[in-house]
């Protein structure tokens, strides 16, 4: 999809010297200036005539001109498919033009130029940056950062026009006392629409122009082939203009009819251009038409004919990028100057003719005046055009190196997007494959559904409390998403970099979720402290119902998660690990019932462990106990998610209690006190999880590894000593161990290795590496003059023998 634009960007090598193409530059410059002039005239005309009429007449004149210049229908054979595509294109083009001219009536010429006169390349580059650059990880193109900046500048500029433009103040005052200037059917419908969305007329115009811009870019880039089929861009342009005139005929006639039915609607607002003609609309209709036609012809030639031809010439002579770049710059700069001049002249005239609707009591502030937002956005647009149209230094299909599997990598971003659906489907299958992730996923779905119902209902009833609570729920969902992703990630296959596999991601996600809760607790605490001193008045109307509903949803989560959670905990029985003791005690009251049948419920992942325990149970009473306490730690990820849900539930309970207290006793201070308690409780409940997962991340030796193992290793024949014993927990289910063993010179390495391995395996270690050293080894090392590393301690064994 982005192929054409990338081609455009890469074709920059042949740039002619400036002196050769100077006349073309000047021509381009003049045509753009004239176009600006035409736009301002059009805007003036639009004040007095219906925009459909103007559009129709201009396209009519333009198509007549083009018919004479180009003679498009003389030499072409159109077959059915091309005709069909042409008609499709024409309809889109007509819609774009209608939107454009309507946007012009609403926003004024300056803003229209700022928003609409961008080349397709800018918009496509913008989209390219926004939607595909995030997917190529690790590819640092030189031009990429400037592209991103350009896109951000573009967005900022649009935002500035949309939000920081004071222009809408005038609109709200003047246009929207209902029924006074909205006789036009189209405008009226549009006004209804925009007021439904909640934006002013001017902002509606901005939206319309943006939509028009995007549609234009889309149809232009999608129909590049069609242009070739028809036979060159000029012919194509002529044909489509003629066809769009034909399209406009019925609508404009309808408009004309409506305007004749309501004659006063032809002119609802006085303008500098038409003040004399205003009172006698019907009598001097033909005079109006005559005075209309001369500017219209100028407009249509300037806007649709000369501009197009000169741009085509410039594209051929200069290259595309330069044309668009300088064209856009000229347009923006020229529009700024023109609007300055225009405002000045218009204010002079306006001072003479007082606004006919005198109740405002002041002179009409010049419509669509310059404001800080517009100036800012002009600067931003210039920057972004400059950045986005600067040529890319390197081609995008470039060779960037080798992947981890040794396959050469090419940076082809557009190939990756096609399989999004496939990725979604496969990840959904992965999610549903295992109990943990399925559980999180279902709860996430319930939570999201509740959130959206809440948000929708809040928007419907216009209740801010509900909406902000919905946002809060959405925020909480991220913790679930993190948990879900980690649960999914932990099943990925080991790679070269992640040699132990991804199961550690679960521990890390548990830790991150714990930190998340700490942050939540901190902010709740901070807010509560602020509120204790000045408890705010709270409207408890809908609060109770919402919090009860939230409580119900969270209870579902608690019950579904506590099942898994209690399973992990329930195995402990005696609870030999002191670390998780407090959390067991804390959550005991929540799932007492699930404790009783926690053993009967078989878990796919813990089931394997139980098997192991049973096996070792017969051989050694003590080690079976270790096996149990090992599963006590459970899955940090699930624990984190569970704690999060628990914290949410606590929050709902707090809200219920405080709102009841406020409703019946009017104790407004109960709210901050409740939140204080809740934050402290969240913090306390999260500490064990944090401690647990942090200890795992810090490679703490599991507390259930007993010295007795090492004692048994020492007792093996011919073992002298051991050193560098490292045992650490990779995830909740795996322990990794490495050990160096020093044996006497007559011992057999393989036998010792296998015996040590057997001992370590009995202690539930899955991943063991044993290095067996003899005196000879150190002699070899000394001979090789090798670095000893950590061997100094083990060498000592032999030194002191």
């Amino acid at each position: 999809m982005f192929n054409p634009i990338l081609d455009d960007f890469s074709k920059t090598s042949k740039s002619r010297p400036l002196s050769d193409v100077l006349h073309i530059f000047i021509l381009l410059f003049i045509s753009k200036i004239l176009k600006i002039f035409a736009l301002f005239i059009t805007y003036n005309l639009l004040k007095s005539y219906h925009f459909m009429l103007i559009l129709f007449l201009t396209t009519l004149f333009a198509s007549i001109c083009l018919l004479f210049i180009q003679k498009p229908f003389s030499s072409i054979r159109l077959n059915k498919t091309i005709l069909f595509r042409l008609i499709k294109y024409t309809i889109c083009l007509t819609i774009v033009r209608v939107l454009w001219i309507f946007g012009l009536t609403l926003c004024g010429p300056l803003r229209t130029i700022l928003l609409f006169e961008h080349s397709d390349l800018v918009i496509l580059a913008c989209f390219h940056v926004l939607f595909s650059s995030s997917s190529d990880i690790g590819v640092q193109q030189q031009g990429q950062t400037s592209r991103i900046r350009g896109a951000v500048f573009f967005i900022l500029a649009v935002l500035a026009i949309f939000a920081f433009d004071n222009d809408d103040a005038r609109q709200r005052v003047l246009d929207h006392p209902e029924g006074h200037s909205h006789h036009r059917l189209f405008a009226h419908v549009f006004y209804r629409l925009t007021s439904f969305i909640g934006v002013g007329d001017h902002k509606g115009g901005v939206i319309l122009l943006l939509i028009a811009l995007f549609i234009r870019c889309a149809i232009d880039s999608l129909n590049k082939k069609l242009i070739g089929d028809v036979g060159g861009p000029k012919k194509f342009y002529a044909i489509t203009t003629c066809l769009s005139t034909a399209c406009l005929i019925p609508t404009s006639f309808i408009m004309l009819l409506i305007n004749n039915i309501f004659p006063d609607s032809i002119d609802s607002s006085s303008s500098t251009f038409q003040t004399t003609l205003l009172p006698s609309t019907s009598s001097s209709f033909f005079g109006t038409i005559v005075s209309l036609f001369i500017p219209l012809i100028i407009i249509s030639i300037l806007l649709f004919v000369s501009d197009f031809y000169i741009e085509q010439i410039a594209i051929v002579k200069l290259e595309r990028l330069r044309t668009f770049r300088y064209g856009t710059f000229t347009m923006i700069g020229g529009a700024l100057i023109a609007s300055f001049l225009w405002i000045k002249s218009a204010t002079v005239i306006n001072n003479n003719s007082i606004w006919f609707n005198g109740n405002i009591g002041k002179f009409e502030p010049e419509e669509h005046a310059l404001s800080g937002g517009v100036v800012f956005s002009i600067v931003m647009f210039i920057f972004s055009t400059d950045l986005l149209l600067s040529p890319i230094k390197q081609r995008s299909g470039a060779f960037i190196g080798y992947s981890q599997d040794g396959v050469p990598l090419f940076n082809l971003t557009h190939q990756r997007s096609q399989s999004l659906l496939l990725i979604l489907r496969s990840s959904l299958r992965d999610i549903l494959a295992e109990t943990d992730s399925r559980r999180i996923f279902y709860f996430l779905c319930i939570n999201l559904m509740f959130t959206f119902v809440e948000l929708l209902y809040g928007a419907w009833t216009n209740s801010l409390g509900l909406i902000s609570d919905g946002f809060h729920m959405l925020f909480d969902c991220t913790a679930l998403v993190v948990g879900l992703y980690a649960a999914l990630m932990s099943r990925w296959k080991p790679t070269r970099v992640f040699s132990y596999g991804y199961s550690r991601a679960e521990v890390l996600s548990g830790f991150v979720n714990g930190l998340f809760l700490v942050v939540v607790a901190f902010f709740v605490f901070y807010e509560a402290i602020g509120r204790i001193f000045e408890p705010p008045e709270i409207n408890t109307n809908r609060l109770l119902a919402v919090s009860v509903a939230g409580f119900a949803v969270n209870m579902i989560g608690i019950f579904s998660f506590s099942h898994a959670h209690a399973h992990a905990h329930g195995g402990g029985g005696g609870g030999s690990c002191p670390m998780s003791q407090p959390s067991v005690a804390k959550e005991q009251h929540h799932h007492d019932h699930s404790h009783s049948h926690s053993h009967s419920h078989s878990h796919s992942h813990d089931g394997g462990h139980d098997h192991d325990h049973g096996h070792s149970h017969r051989s050694n009473e003590k080690s079976s106990h270790h096996g149990h306490s090992h599963s006590l730690t459970g899955n940090a990820n699930m624990k984190g998610v569970f704690l999060h849900v628990l914290a949410d539930t606590l929050g709902s309970v707090g809200v219920i209690i405080s709102s009841l207290l406020i409703q019946y006793f009017g104790w407004y201070i109960s709210d901050p006190i409740c939140s204080l308690f809740i934050s402290i409780m969240i913090f306390l409940s999260v500490i064990p999880l944090l401690k647990d997962s942090a200890m795992t991340l810090l490679l703490q030796t599991p507390s259930d590894i007993q010295y007795e193992i090492l004692g048994r290793i020492i007792k093996i024949d011919s073992v002298l000593s051991y050193s560098d014993e490292h045992f650490w927990r990779l995830s909740s289910s795996t322990i990794v161990g490495t050990i160096h063993i020093q044996i006497s010179n007559d011992g057999d390495e393989q036998l010792v290795t296998s015996q040590v391995q057997a001992i370590l395996k009995e202690a539930q270690m899955q991943n063991v590496a044993v290095q067996v050293e003899k005196q000879v080894f150190f002699n070899h090392l000394a001979g090789l003059n090798s670095a000893l590393g950590q061997l100094a301690t083990s060498e000592r064994t032999f030194l002191h023998k």
Partner: protein
């Protein structure tokens, strides 16, 4: 409990020692300023200010990390000293002490790799906390925008300047090895990249500035500068009467900037915590492994696990399958020789196929007595030694 008290005592030791006195002063001032600034932010009711003031909390975490890494240094030094003393002792009365080495209570420690990893976790925690805080502020600012409350602009300037000063002091005057390393080693944030890109184009026009502008900028300082600019423009626009939208927008911008600055560091330290091979080491490791696999007697490598213990320390374990007639100690020594330069803490597991079959006749007698081996003989069929 005892551990935490020992940590506390070591922190107290730090407090008493002279070289960290400036750190203590900075910590206390940071705490005070943090409290004042946050009360101001609460009074001002501006989310942008709150977002900026959360830098103060990051500063506290930063100082905590600095203290921790200083503590680890101190720890290592004392350990080395102890080791020296130990070895001296052993030299003196070697025979007596060699047995006491094997008493397990001494050798099993809770953190067998030492405390170096604490730094990594501290960096991860502080960056993650500020990321989550930025996330929370994102959500809060949207909620605040809906609530539409009045913002008092008079506090904005004062508290932002206070935050700026304390942040700069903390960043440049507190020695923090862990963060220095992470800042140097992690990939640059988007903020850094854009700023350097812009500066490059500035230097294109004014070459004289290249010495000032072109070096890599400390991302934390950059965050502070940009945040200050944002808060200033925010207060300016608020005074101009542009309404809440400005405040929300600038707080969103702040949050995204904090995100962008912290995410590369969090990724770097998080990857260490996930037991991964650091990317720059892969090439070197591959070269060493390739060389080692060409050694005489080595058949193949399996279960190559190489991971970073902390910043700059690599730990590895490796299974080497060697020929049946090879001398294990020689193979071990050669492989060790190849790898020990790159990997600081190494364990090499040498194994042979079917070693039982060759040696059955000599070792049959003792093995029958061993219940462990007879229990699961299937493990030693073929060469599957490690599961």
């Amino acid at each position: 409990m005892g551990k935490s008290t020992s940590v506390l005592t070591s922190i107290f030791y730090l407090v008493k020692s002279s070289h960290s006195r400036s750190t203590i002063i900075i910590t206390i001032t940071t705490l005070l300023i943090c409290i004042t600034v946050f009360t101001m932010a609460g009074q001002a009711n501006s989310m942008a200010l709150q977002a900026y003031c959360s830098l103060c909390i990051f500063d506290l975490l930063f100082i905590g990390t600095a203290l921790l890494s200083a503590w680890i240094m101190e720890n290592n030094n004392t350990k080395v000293r102890q080791k020296m003393q130990n070895s001296n002792n052993i030299d003196n009365n070697s025979i007596n002490n060699s047995t006491s080495l094997f008493i397990p209570t001494q050798t099993i420690t809770t953190f067998s790799y030492g405390t170096a990893r604490f730094e990594v976790l501290a960096v991860f925690t502080s960056t993650m906390l500020s990321i989550l805080g930025a996330f929370f502020i994102l959500k809060e600012s949207i909620e605040k925008y809906l609530e539409d409350e009045i913002i008092h602009t008079e506090y904005l300037m004062l508290s932002s300047i206070l935050t700026y000063i304390i942040h700069m002091i903390v960043i440049y005057f507190v020695r923090n090895q862990a963060f220095d390393h992470v800042i140097a080693a992690s990939s640059s944030s988007w903020l850094q990249e854009h700023v350097s890109d812009m500066f490059q184009s500035v230097c294109h026009y004014i070459p004289g500035l290249s010495r000032l502008l072109l070096p890599r900028i400390n991302p934390l300082a950059l965050l502070c500068w940009c945040g200050l600019a944002i808060v200033f423009s925010d207060s300016f626009l608020l005074k101009m009467g542009y309404g809440h939208f400005v405040d929300t927008l600038s707080s969103l911008l702040m949050a995204f900037m904090t995100f962008g600055t912290m995410v590369p560091m969090a990724i770097y330290s998080g990857k260490i915590l996930l037991q991964t091979t650091p990317a720059p080491m892969i090439g070197q490791l591959d070269k060493c492994l390739h060389e080692a696999s060409r050694l005489d007697g080595v058949l193949e490598f399996r279960h190559e696990h190489f991971w970073a213990l902390s910043f700059g320390t690599l730990v590895g374990s490796l299974h080497v399958r060697c020929r049946r007639d090879a001398d294990e100690q020689l193979v071990l020594a050669h492989v060790w020789n190849k790898l020990a330069n790159v990997v600081q803490i190494l364990t090499i597991h040498v194994f042979k196929d079917d070693w039982l079959r060759r040696q059955t006749h000599t070792f049959m007698q003792p093995q029958t007595g061993n219940p462990v081996l007879s229990n699961n003989p299937s493990t030693y069929n073929g060469f599957v030694v490690v599961t």
